[in-house]
Amino acid sequence: MADYFLCKDAIAALAEHRGSGADEAIVVATMTSILWINQASPSPLNISCVPLMGGASALGLGLSLAQPDRKVVVLDGDGSLLMQLGSLVSIAGAGPKNLMHVVFNNGVWFENMVNLPVPGTGDTDYAAIASAAGFPVTHRFASLEDWQAALPDLLTTDGPIFVELVVTPESHNVWNHNAPQPDLPEAQFTRMGNEGRRMREALLS
């Protein structure tokens, strides 16, 4: 078990409870979480919201309205959510019972690449913001154990649910003069469409 609460461990725990077949949850991931969900739980029901920082919550809302009988989990970042903070109000208004919006509060943009600080005081309480926006169920977890214990109920409880996970940003691969940032792969610009078409086929077949 990690010394710190890491995004990858939180997602590995989620993968254990994701379900299968008709009960398998759709997962909309963005930024750091894309790598970890596709390692822990590869599936045609995964879609990467990239390059569209801030879009994951609305993409999840659209999917949840279209597929009301299937759980939809959004894996968002704090920096991404801040770009579309109004989406909390939009989701609360639409009220999809099957949507769980998870936000990783790691305090940085470009985790494990450059770790630039997100705006704010460092004490932003995203769960409190979501509650004020009208989410009927909100949680804030700062340990893997608490997240693991809550997961079974969260995935069977009506929502919309908002969960803030206060995690530690990884920093062992931060770019430097000797290890500069790599070129972006072409897949970064095509995967959202390819995964969207794959998901649509899986859902409608």
């Binding site: 879609i47 569209l52 609305a58 999917l63 279209a66 095509t190 859902l203």
Partner: protein
Amino acid sequence: MAMPTGEAVLNKMKENNVTHAVTVPDWIQIGLHQALVADGEIEMVPFCTEDEAITAGVGLHIGGKRAVVVVQNQGLYAGLNALRAIGLDAGMPLVLFIGQFGREIAAFTPDPAKSARRVVRILEPVLDAVEVPHWRIESAEDLGGIDAAFDRAYRDSWPAAVIFGQNLPLQH
């Protein structure tokens, strides 16, 4: 020639199997908004930003529904990055209804490119720049442009825009 009523536009949406209207409401299309609310068959989902509306519209498509994005020209400008990412780069079908907010009524110019107002004048050039085909609705006779936009969007898996040039009146 009079603009089509909101109800007439709503009927075109139904003919094209629209299930959801995702919107940041538009001044020009108030007649349509009111018709959507009064009718209730197509679910209207309001959003805080046009980025959200565009992105959710594609999410609905992936999930098996059909959405129309109802915004005004300023909203199209605000939502361009979402349209670029999830419409164009992702190659997803999505029809946008865009109102020409600011179009002069008293000094109406048949060609919006001749408008004195930038917010009106640049809409079609912006759509051209991002390679989104578009159809003008300037009178009830132009309603077929809505069918053409849906045909193009779902044939090519690509966004398409319908531009409403003047206020949509209510039938009642």
